[in-house]
Symmetry: C2
């Protein structure tokens, strides 16, 4: 007799490393959680949702989300230059479910997905689960090397191989590198999508967490067809992760197809109503401003600490977002460094997990959102000790 | 050039009918929503979650759910005779996500799923999406005809065909028929699972909504191995749908595999904390008792109304749950009746959608949870007029 609960699929069934709990007692530079200092007081919104709006908040919600939130997201997206309407939005359980649903809607097993190397590590797991194969594209200080993407597609076509079905990117304050894609690259990527018939999946969690400089238009705001780019957003980084409110904004036909794939029957209307009221009252913008100010102070403390205590670590100072990408000297392994860091009291991930193909092993993914500036200063000091121990041994 | 957002899959991509909105102005006998009269006041629990417990409620929650809720569910299940522990529970976004995750974990495309005909209509969509094929089994007043399931398996084996990988059922107050499976059948189904090597998926949303008679043990409480039965539960029917809190209770190895498939990274800790506190304080039991009393009054009003106004409709008086199954005289079509009912002001579904194979067309799925007893009396009267119009025409 076989094992009754043996797996039916041979696919990779490991939990993405970023979803594993961080060991207690370590300074947490491992995950992009919210800063405890800026978790907002949402009591008033919840009291209204569970009082005046109880019949909405506690019943099953509509499959595509409550109208008040869909309309609020339309207004929010309009502020960024994205023109959409209620039927171009579906509310989902956070950004990760959004990515999963888009992948399920657009990818068939074996389809090629192009993405930066490194990229958002959970996205790798999500696309892999749908049977995707990967075309890793380098990135630099202006984001994805669109010229190299084009060259790779042209080379594949010449060899009789298909191009990518989907190009995934996080153009603003990219996780894990903090890099923002230049306007010129955004335009060239869109041209390439038209020329080579792929869809751009624009994951946009960090756009509003900008410390300096002017915002760049989302790629989907540059698309005259409205069909080349699918947007994914979340309240996790600009409000709070625990509400699990995310969305997909896309062509209405694709939104309907995603609705048919969202087999949970619709997200919680309670958390949706809280977010809808925060958008309508303008309080969301205040909360996001407070988070941004806090994150700027975190970035400053970490960058100063690393410059002082780990001068051998090369990094680019992010102008927004939650993440900083570190490169150790050649030959020093990120996994070995992460283990040494844990022994010195700091939890962080090697960058190895962020590569869809062959990893660069001397890399680190450092998240500065959770720890206070003082803790980040201490963490940098501890990382300096870890580095010294490794360099000596 | 192809359509950039054309579907990648040829699978059925229709939204299950029960997830489509009910037209406004109709008496809603179409969906198992909560009764507005018993939607509980959860303000105090939410205020605590967003105040004292803010750091838990607004951060990302653990992938498998917050410990307080997993432990609370262990206690709740123990009341029903189900022995499990924290690592045998994963919290998910409602019962439908639970079914989807179990299906994804256990089914490969082409696998056979046995289920009652009729059955929970959304389950049909969920299993079909995973590529399942169906073995429909009749049911009577004691639930699934396990003898006919056995005969079908034996016949398939004799023909060189595989038996079912999974047997799905809702043994307590089955949606849509309201039937409860007898203890004898529960035992025989479990024996059959051992003999023919399948897993039983026991969907258990209505167990605590019992109007009369003594509870029967869940099938999984009878399984000495703990590996033949996977349980699925939800707070939707015994508390409120809008919290979207459900769970899977199963062998810990399967729970871990489901965790790896739950790509949204974990359900909202805010709604989880509210439910955990309701379990711990004992308030959940009070709320469920109030819902049960309300539903009993609904059942009574609907049954009396149907007997009086639609005497030709045969139905079995449910002893619990939210649903009643009606059979029209042979030759009268459920879809045609549902259209006539809508013209007379009542929304309900033909039973046709509840069949995984060839439907019995003269059937109706009637849900009595949403309307008040007075409205149900009016609805029965309207259904009587709809019936008379059809019988006359």
């Amino acid at each position: 007799m076989t094992d009754p609960i043996a797996p039916a699929r041979s696919a990779d069934l490991a939990v993405p490393v970023a979803l594993a709990p961080t060991p207690a007692g370590l300074l947490k530079l491992s995950v992009g959680n919210g800063s405890p200092a800026t978790l907002p007081d949402l009591t008033a919104e919840a009291v209204r949702a569970l009082g005046a709006m109880r019949e909405e908040a506690l019943q099953y919600g509509p499959l595509y989300g409550i109208d008040a939130l869909r309309d609020g997201l339309v207004r929010l997206l309009a502020e960024d230059g994205v023109r959409t309407a209620r039927d171009g939005i579906i509310v989902v359980n956070g950004g990760k479910q959004a990515l999963e649903l888009v992948a399920r809607a657009l990818l068939a097993p074996g389809d090629l997905v192009a993405l930066t190397a490194p990229t958002f590590l959970t996205a790798i797991s999500i696309f892999r689960r749908e049977g995707a194969t990967f075309l890793p594209i380098p990135l630099d200080g202006e984001g994805m090397r669109v010229d190299l993407l084009e060259a790779a597609i042209v080379a594949r076509r010449a060899a009789g191989l298909p191009g990518p079905r989907l190009v995934f990117d996080m153009p603003d304050f990219h996780n894990p590198t903090g890099v923002t894609m230049s306007l010129d690259r955004r335009r060239r990527l869109l041209d390439l999508a038209e020329a080579h018939d792929f869809v751009i999946l624009e994951d946009d969690p960090y756009r509003r967490i900008r410390f300096e400089g002017a915002s760049l238009p989302p790629i989907r705001s540059l698309d005259p067809t409205g069909r080349r780019v699918v947007g994914v957003g979340t309240m996790a980084k600009m409000l709070a992760p625990g509400l699990k409110v995310g969305w997909v904004d896309a062509d209405p036909a694709l939104v309907r197809r995603i609705g048919a794939l969202k087999m949970d029957g619709g997200s919680s209307p309670l958390t949706q109503r809280i977010v809808a009221d925060l958008i309508a009252s303008g309080r969301l913008a205040d909360i996001t401003r407070a988070i941004t100010a806090e994150m700027r102070a975190h970035r400053d403390a970490l960058a100063a600490g690393l410059e002082r205590h780990v001068p051998a670590l090369r990094f680019r100072r992010p102008a927004g977002g939650y993440f900083l990408w570190g490169e150790l000297p050649d030959g020093m392994d990120g996994d070995v460094f992460a283990e040494a860091a844990a022994r010195h009291g700091v939890a962080l991930f090697s960058g190895v997990h962020c590569f869809p193909g062959e990893p660069r092993r001397n890399t680190l993914r450092i998240c500065y959102s959770v720890c206070t500036p003082a803790e980040l200063e201490r963490a940098a000091e501890a990382l300096g000790r870890a580095y010294a121990a490794l360099a000596a041994g």
